[in-house]
Amino acid sequence: MATTQAGEVTGSDLVELRVPADPAYLTVVRTASAGLAARLDLTLDEIEDLRIAVDEACTLLLDPQAEAGEIVATFRLGSGVLEVEVRGPATALPERSSFAWAVLEALVGEVSTGQSDTGAWIVLRHTRARGAT
């Protein structure tokens, strides 16, 4: 697997979730996202946005052609920062001008993406809006 710039969150907890690349499993990833976001004491709206963004990212990374494959979601929980890296079998991501990108960018502070030999990845990075309490 290609390496990413992810991992900038230092002193963080790591949670990894590996599910079949099947839409039916996305709900597990979504629920985990919400649960972990709640640990960071994010507001309900932030949690909701993150959940939607993760769902969007996972959907982009599913490959409708491939029967097999996995979605691997890696959550890094720093102080006030949640980074979600999602990898999936999709061989091509839609162009930057698509709705999907607009959604991701509207919901999450930082979005980066790339291809690897096994598929593609998207990293979402959310920083808690309020000052740490």
């Binding site: 698509s98 709705f99 919901l107």
Partner: protein, 278 residues
């Protein structure tokens, strides 16, 4: 298209040149064919209300982004709300966003519209927690009132008056009455309850929610068959909780007409449910 009026032609556009946008269509591409152009938004924003061509341009810009409403609604699938309802709600957010959008700020329209649309959908879900539709403002006031009622009861050693509640919560007495009234919507009496006393007989009965799922599934194809205007009126009435006169203003027909259309449509749905689900 777009004869440049706003002088915004040089601004970074979200999309590539039109030539690059032909060819095979990925699922998530912008709405039918053409790239949305900043010029059109500038043109729209510059047109005063009622100007010739404004309505047509508004419609066109909305139509181009309808797919976005559908796209966002899909993000909420599996949460017990019919997809079409969510599309409707997201579309209302889209309309609000378009009407408020200021292209001169240099923010691309989707970046502005998406949070507005999601806000609308989230509110929809928040409001769904209630048996009947109660506007959010009233739900919030309702919570504030419930708190004030409790503290005042403690302080005064008796139940507070409307005026005391109003003073404590900084609200108008009329509003307090209205909200207390609507608080009844938290729980509803089953229609088949013969008298309030028979409520106990319903303990442990079939979960009403289950039946609601059945109804919803049965309704879905029926709703799909309705003409667009009727469907819209239904959505405004039952999704948005608008009054008949508000709907009349929105749709541009008389309140009487709305009333007739509503009862006819509801009659049709009832009939359809009766024959199909038997």
């Amino acid at each position: 298209m777009a004869a440049v009026e706003g002088g915004d032609a040089g601004r970074e556009v979200l999309t590539g040149p039109p030539s690059a946008r032909r060819g095979d269509e990925p699922l998530t591409r912008y709405g039918p064919g053409a790239a949305p152009e900043v010029d059109d938004f500038a043109r729209f924003a510059a047109l005063p209300e009622g100007a010739p061509g404004r309505a047509a341009l508004r419609e066109e810009l909305l139509r181009r982004h309808l797919q976005l409403a559908d796209h966002l609604a899909r993000r909420f699938s599996g949460r017990g709300e019919p997809h079409d309802d969510l599309v409707q709600v997201a579309t209302i957010g889209l309309i609000k966003a378009l009407d408020r959008f200021d292209p001169s700020r240099g923010v691309p329209f989707p970046a502005y519209a998406i949070p507005t649309m999601l806000g609308e959908v989230k509110r929809h879900f928040r409001d769904r927690g209630w048996a009947l539709r109660v506007p959010r403002r009233m739900q919030e006031t309702g919570r504030a009132l419930a708190d004030a009622r409790e503290t005042l009861t403690h302080e005064l050693g008796r139940a507070p008056t409307i005026a005391e509640l109003a003073a404590r919560t900084g609200r108008d007495a009329d509003e307090v009455v209205e909200v207390l009234e609507s608080a009844n919507a938290y729980s509803t009496v089953p229609l088949d309850a013969a008298s309030p006393d028979s409520g106990a007989a319903h303990l442990g009965s079939v979960d009403e929610q289950l039946e609601r799922v059945d109804n919803r599934e049965a309704l879905r194809p029926l709703l799909a068959q309705l003409p667009p205007r009727e469907r819209r009126i239904l959505a405004l009435r039952f999704v948005r909780g608008m009054s008949q006169s508000q709907i009349a203003a929105e749709v541009g027909i008389s309140q009487m007409h709305v009333s007739r259309l509503l009862s006819r449509t509801l009659g049709q749905l009832r009939e359809g449910l009766g024959t199909d689900s038997a």
